[in-house]
Amino acid sequence: MKSTVDADRLGVFKTYKLYVGGKFPRSESGRVYEVTDSKGKWLANAPLSSRKDARDAVVAARKAFGAWSGATAYNRGQVLYRVAEMLEGRRDQFVREVADAEGLSKSKAAAVVDAAIDRWVWYAGWTDKIAQVVGGANPVAGPFFNLSTPEPTGVVAVLAPQESSFLGLVSVIAPAIATGNTVVVVASEGAPLPALSLAEVLATSDVPGGVVNILSGRTAEIAAPLASHQDVNAIDLAGADEDLAKELETAAADNLKRVLRPQPVDFTAAPGTGRLTAFLETKTVWHPTGSLGASGSAY
């Protein structure tokens, strides 16, 4: 971390940690790796997550799923909006981190951070609307009430985009949790610091522990156990290259995970609902209606 105070005062470095189950553990492996800026200058050491960290993160995400998916959509919207509020307060920090991570100018990094904050607001507003857009009553030909409702798929493994370390990251996390999923996120391998710092924001934004779990390290190494994990329900391959994506999609077939394949995305453009619906299941409930009763007196 660059020192930003007077030359005669030695700066305090931040120890970057993982974010699992609402806590900030070091990697179970005890290993770290060097993170540099775009010019190769050392920024910090990030935890090098192991398979076991991935396993622990899945356990935390599963544990959090019941309460988070069961929370009211209004409540989830409030929580997501709270994330935007907290981010706004730490805007300068993230501008700095994004500038370092992605080699952007201050003003370009500021635009990215602003867009990321606005993205939380966008998805905060979606939580209590998506069910109305993609669900609804079905006019079946019979005396039945029939309603389709979208429900979260469950635990989603998210490989965050490699290039867009912050806006891209927010753009894949927010839609997944907006609908009630919980996520295990593998941060951008080369630029994990904004993700690890986002954890600090989430931890102070009423996002229940375990809803978002963030791991840093080698994407391929962490993603493999996630893709084959039988208690992971879906995987977003945004941060996988072609070969890795194929390998992970193949592994994901073992328990028929829902797979969102990598696709070219301009994260600065307004998002649609695609990432919201990618991790939704439609549940359709039937119930008889029938008549109130046949009567009528005719003496």
Partner: protein
Amino acid sequence: MPTNAPAALSDVTASDGALRRFLHGLPGVDAVGLEARAASLGTRSIKTSAKAYAIDLAISMIDLTTLEGADTPGKVRALAAKAVNPDPTDRTTPHTAAVCVYPDMVATAKAALNGADVKVASVATAFPAGRAALDVKLADTRDAVAAGADEIDMVIDRGAFLAGKYLKVYEEILAVKEASGSARLKVIFETGELSTYDNIRRASWLGMLAGADFIKTSTGKVAVNATPANTLLMLEAVRDFREQTGVQVGVKPAGGIRTSKDAIKFLVLVNETAGADWLDSHWFRFGASSLLNDLLMQRQKLATGRYSGPDYVTVD
């Protein structure tokens, strides 16, 4: 308190509260599911020998009925003659189970039947509305029995039932049962007025607890009378009642059953719900009038291979 309830259930009629709790504790009825089941049994295809069996069985189960303000001794005598000998061209045709008339016509019917093995059933208890004092209803019943009725078709007090006064309904049935003496008692619920299937199930159990020999859907005087669904529900009730108490109770759908096809559907309901034990005129009846001629025409068709016509059966 007097009770006709079988020992196994004697405590449920101990008080208004106990009776209400019991009746409201019966399993609910899902209307769509019940109607779907009745409709599905209605798709059974009854052919050839099974059809011949069913037609004769249905004829033997008819309570051949006339319940008009315009009933006269002549009309009742004609009805009785038809009951005994439904098809003058074919003496192998079974007779009907009974004729069903108003109390003042019982004596006429009895005389006209002249000892034939056809019962006389009389409606009673201020049929069809049942809106009279208990004394009047009991006098009506005794009248009919004294005139020779073998069976009494009473109506329940639907007003009391719908007001939740189940014990009042129960006690009234008890009293009528007593007044009926050895005549078999059919208890009419007027299901069209009870309206809901839950009510029909409750009324069925209420009637059986009070000692009904038959439970009967309707008077034939309201818009909705016997339907496959309400009859199916009552068949379930008698089946369950026997299962629980060992007492077998008959069922009589009445009103609206006009064709052989309909009647056969009802027999399928009996066969596949209550079971073969009820496939007998002692345990199942049709309250009907025009049904008989249709059954006779179908019977002639089966015998001759030709479709029959209304001129080949007798008008009542």
